[in-house]
């Protein structure tokens, strides 16, 4: 019977309080934390799946196993048993003959299932716009790249000879999803059926062949297979690759975007949780009287506890329900918008985000309410006569433990990364303490300054000083919210700018390779005459690094070589070497100096220098064209590999190796509407090969487009969460302000004076919080840029102005909005409300 009564009272309190708007902030805070976590997780899961699906097209699969020899058939059977699709792709270089002429080609033999991701594009003319196709060349036929039409006198319908077999060229191959990024090794592709491979007779023991096995399937099946196969691989001859592996601009863009999304989302969740904590405190304070009255009227502790725990639980469940509905529609709307913008529909999400969102709501509501609730339930009945009694001093450590533990738990749940969560949490806790101290100091200083000012300012300063403890806590939460907003805003700008700078509108979209030395000048003339933006033509000659300071380096990677401790780490392969008298664009010298005059020397790329433990002055021995020579390391360069221009590990001074034979390479930009001119433009350079990277660039832009939208969406959510914290915090301080306003009004203060005093107090609080936020943001962004996003650190001066201005404006606006009804009410009404 009593059970029904406490449930009835709880439900009644909830219904009325929701209707009267008393629980609005608390309900919004919980609902928002659920909605934001749900929409963020669903959206990022869908987006990630979308990006990966789109990105997998770069591999033509989800994963690729590269091997120098055939793999055991058991491995492929295991993949099939695991529910994975598989395909074969075997590639090697070979000469191709037609009409007594020959050219080097990249032979690609593919099984019928190829490609597992992405599509091939073919055309009826070289360099024409491709059309997607689901088919493959049938036995006896070959599809060849446009470049081969430049090098051999062939047309569609003609035959080419590959090894012992001849193939009829039936289509021009315009695009392969897995054409890759490497420009040096690229010869035109000849695509033939896997079933014809044996007949060519080109696969012999010792041939340099790359056997590739493509796999695709559900992520969990892929993960299971990955865990099974990786331990069985031979590191020397086999590699397992996904789209995130490697140095491609796409992998780097993806990893960076994911880190940003994770970080910003974590901040959004922390902000929403903070809003719940502030609102919970206020919720409990508002109910002090109700608890005292119930206890006085005969309600025992258990009964009162049941009423308020149920009340809070009902409120949480209601808010979680609203938040879930809201979150579902937000992500649905954003998903539709993204799909419309990118003409690409996102895959569906799993149930996991729902579990995460609901546990976030419950954790936020219950953990952050624990301390205020304990305090509320300890309110003595005597409060009905002695209004100053506000409950036992329940140990604050419970509060910090519950809130801190709650935030950490949410971070771990969200990021599934304990190290990142602990690092952020520890950094945040330390920053909070520093901010708290700075806040109190600034409040003290502002009080002294305010004593010199007019009456409204003096009143505002006095108010701030009187509530110094509460105000410094309030300022801490204002500063945290503003700092996180500025941080997300600045990072978003930085990331997007950084990507935009890497791939500007006119980023080179073609590479031209194999340019003969005697054609360099003609090609430069052609670029100028045709108004084509091109990089310099770089000479390239193959060579090998033989020794470092007299110590031999590993060349061919073999087990014997690896076990030999007398040899140093080397490249293990042939290098493309170049020479130049000036530092190439997008290269930065980080140590040493550029070549002077005709001195011998080499400039080394920084990551290589680190990997090979090279330092300035080291003597490197190279073998180029049968001759060996030694050069000192004169400089170490940082290279931006994400730019679409020729980049080199080793650059020599002109006279060092320029006597060797070389071919030249350049990249250039040709607008898509001029692509049809390519054939004519390069007709007079038959030796040169063209590599079209436009598709790669477009795909990277597509991914960046996805990610930019996601970042914008996350930023909007974080801003909303920040606003919610500010509002909850302002609301929490209203009751005390109410009392002050009553006293001042009773003493004859005019509305204008009170409005000014309240506004000035919020202006000062907001501006100080904004200033602290800007400083803290600058420190945080420095760490994030250098440690997380691998970007060059920058100073954000405009945020130093923006912080205080935004802080003062937003806090004042919210403060004034919350206090406006108080300032308008008649003194009598206020007194009665406070009685």
């Amino acid at each position: 019977m009593r059970v029904a009564n406490w449930l009835k009272i709880s439900f009644r309190l909830l219904r009325h309080e929701l209707k009267r708007g008393e629980l609005t902030i608390m309900a919004i805070a919980i609902a928002f934390s659920v909605a934001s976590v749900l929409s963020l997780s669903v959206f990022s899961e869908r987006l990630q799946a979308g990006i990966l699906a789109q990105s997998s097209e770069f591999l033509a699969a989800d994963r690729v196993l590269r091997s120098r020899q055939e793999i055991p058939i058991r491995w492929i059977e295991q993949a099939r048993e695991q529910g994975l699709q598989s395909a074969r792709r075997t590639t090697f270089n070979s000469m191709v003959f037609a009409s007594n002429e020959l050219a080097l080609a990249d032979i690609k033999a593919v099984s019928e299932e190829y490609p597992l991701r992405g599509t091939l594009e073919i055309a009826e003319q070289p360099f024409a716009q491709g059309n997607a196709t689901e088919s493959l060349p049938v036995p006896g036929e070959a599809w060849v790249h446009s470049g081969l039409f430049q090098q051999l006198p062939i047309e569609l319908g003609d035959s080419i000879e590959v090894g012992n077999t001849s193939f009829v060229v039936t289509k021009v191959l315009i695009k392969e999803p897995d054409s890759g990024f490497s420009v040096f090794a690229d010869a035109p592709t000849v695509l033939i059926p896997y079933s014809d491979l044996a007949a060519t007779g080109l696969i012999q023991p010792g041939s340099r062949v790359s056997f590739n096995y493509l796999f695709a399937g559900e992520p969990e099946d892929i993960d299971t297979y990955e865990q099974w196969i990786i331990p069985q691989l031979d590191d020397l001859t086999q590699s397992w690759r996904g789209i995130r592996d490697g140095d491609s601009p796409l992998a780097s863009a993806l990893n960076r975007a994911e880190r940003f999304m994770l970080l910003a989302s974590l901040l959004g969740v922390v902000l929403a949780a903070t809003a719940v904590a502030v609102a919970a405190q206020r919720y409990c304070q508002r109910n002090y009287d109700a608890v005292a009255i119930m206890k006085t009227l005969g309600g025992n502790n258990g009964f009162v506890r049941s009423i308020f725990v149920t009340h809070l639980l009902l409120l949480s469940l209601f808010s979680i329900f609203i938040g879930s509905v809201l979150g579902y529609f937000i992500q649905l709307g954003v998903g539709h918008w993204v799909a419309k913008q990118l003409a690409y529909s996102l895959p569906a999400a799993s149930w996991k985000p729902w579990g995460l969102a609901i546990s976030t709501g419950l954790l936020s509501a219950l953990l952050f309410s624990l301390y205020p609730l304990l305090r509320l339930l300890s309110i003595p009945p005597l409060r009905v006569l002695r209004r100053e009694l506000d409950g036992d001093n329940v140990k604050r450590v419970i509060h910090w433990f519950a809130c801190g533990g709650g935030i950490l738990l949410l971070m771990v749940l969200y990021s599934r990364n304990l190290t990142l969560s602990l690092a952020l949490f520890a950094g945040g806790a330390f920053a909070a303490m520093v901010l708290l101290l700075i806040g109190r100091l600034l409040i003290r200083l502002s009080r002294q300054a305010g004593m010199q000012a007019g009456s409204s300012w003096r009143l505002a300063m006095a108010g701030m000083q009187r509530r110094a403890k509460e105000n410094s806590l309030q300022m801490l939460s204002f500063a945290t919210a503003i700092m996180l907003l500025l941080l997300v805003l600045a990072l978003r700008t930085e990331l997007l700018d950084d990507w935009q700078n890497q791939l500007p509108e006119n980023a080179p979209n073609f590479f031209v390779v194999n340019v003969a030395p005697e054609q360099v000048s003609d090609m430069q003339t052609m670029f100028t005459a045709e108004n084509i933006q091109a990089t310099d033509l770089y000479p390239i000659t193959p060579g090998r690094l033989v020794s470092i300071n007299g110590q031999l380096v590993r060349d061919e990677v073999s087990k014997e070589d690896r076990d030999n401790s007398d040899v140093r780490e080397g490249f293990g392969r042939e290098l493309q070497l170049t020479w130049r008298s000036t530092l190439p664009p997008e290269n930065n010298l980080i140590s040493g100096r550029w070549f002077e005059g005709e001195e011998l020397g080499v400039s080394v790329e920084s990551e290589v220098a680190e990997r090979l433990a090279l330092k300035l002055g080291d003597i490197l021995e190279f073998r180029v064209g049968g001759a060996e020579f030694e050069v000192p390391v004169l400089s170490i360069r940082e290279v931006d590999w994400n730019t679409m221009q020729p980049n080199f590990y080793m650059i020599f001074n002109e006279n060092t190796i320029s006597q060797n034979s070389a071919t030249y390479i350049a990249s250039f930009y040709l607008p898509s509407e001029r692509k049809a001119e390519l054939y004519d433009l390069f007709k007079s350079f038959p030796q040169a090969s063209l590599i079209d990277v436009d598709d790669i660039i477009q795909q990277i832009r597509g991914v960046i487009g996805h990610v930019s939208m996601a970042i914008t969406f996350v930023m909007v959510l974080v801003m909303f969460a920040g606003g919610l914290v500010l509002l909850a915090q302002v609301q929490a301080s209203l009751e005390e302000r109410e009392q002050e306003i009553v006293i001042l009004r009773t003493l004859g203060a005019r509305s204008k004076l009170l409005t000014q005093a309240v506004s000035y107090e919020f202006i000062i609080l907001g501006a100080l919080a904004g200033f602290i936020a800007a400083v803290a943001m600058e420190a945080s962004i420095y760490i994030l840029q250098t440690q997380v996003f691998e970007m060059a650190p920058t100073i954000h001066w405009r945020f130093w102005l923006l912080g205080p201005v935004v802080g003062a404006s937003v806090v004042t606006l919210l403060g004034w909005f919350s206090c406006r009804s108080l300032l308008r009410q008649r003194t009598g009404t206020l007194i009665r409300a406070l009685a």
Binding site: A292, M294, V384
Partner: protein, 228 residues
């Protein structure tokens, strides 16, 4: 045997400047259905005495017994149950639960005591105090006098044997205050409830059977000996 018995009760509290004696050695007996006014200057200890008599607080020394039950022998839970069974309260600041309507405020003590469907009884009481038309109003939609009448109806719903009133007319104008007083005494007569009123209002005190005056924590005068 008196219905309420206070035996040599004292109350001390710890303050920042040391121990403060609020009440010293008060002896008091109150009979069933008696009306008693406790008067005295602000800070004299009136409200402290009321809180001890009602079991809201415990004396530092001495004891209070209601209906032969020593309150000091009871824990907080048992005292709450005893209050729910036997005691009603009216406060100067009304102390209605702001989130509940007038009707729900009146029903609250009955529901806390586990009574099922107290709605009819609550409506009857609200009608008795002249608020039949205001049952769905929230406290902030009622005037001070109306709020106090709701508080009176709330106090009587559990048919208390004793009613404690702390400055019941202190927040009301004279005319409203008189109406509330009339209602209080009328219900007191109707239900045969013992009434203990803390007040500054001499006129209200005069309507009680007995007046005790407190100065600096001690009873200095008792007049109008029980006429019950």
């Amino acid at each position: 045997m008196a219905f309420i018995e206070a035996h040599s009760i004292s109350r001390k509290v710890e303050t920042a400047t040391g121990e403060l004696q609020i009440l010293s050695n008060v002896d008091l007996s109150i009979n069933r259905a008696e009306t008693l006014a406790i008067v005295g200057a602000s800070g004299s200890g009136k409200s402290t005495l009321l809180s001890l008599l009602a079991g809201l607080d415990l004396p530092s020394t001495g004891y209070v017994a209601i209906d032969n039950v020593n309150l000091s022998d009871l824990d907080e839970e048992s005292r709450a149950i005893l209050r729910g069974d036997k005691v009603g309260f009216i406060f100067q600041s009304f102390l209605l639960v702001q989130s509940l309507t007038a009707l729900e405020n009146v029903m609250l003590p009955a529901e806390l005591a586990g009574v099922r469907n107290p709605e009819d009884h609550a409506k009857e009481l609200l009608k008795k105090v002249g608020l039949a038309e205001r049952v769905t109003h929230f406290p902030n939609q009622l005037s001070g006098g109306e709020q106090q009448r709701v508080a009176i109806a709330r106090a009587f719903i559990g048919k208390p044997e004793i009613l404690f009133a702390d400055e019941p007319t202190g927040n009301l104008d004279r005319a409203t205050g008189e109406k509330v007083e009339d209602l209080l005494f009328e219900l007191n007569r109707e239900f045969g409830t013992t009434l203990v009123v803390v007040t500054h209002d001499e006129r209200l005190a005069e309507r009680c059977h007995r007046i005790i005056r407190i100065e600096q924590g001690t009873v200095v005068n008792q007049n109008k000996e029980a006429e019950v």
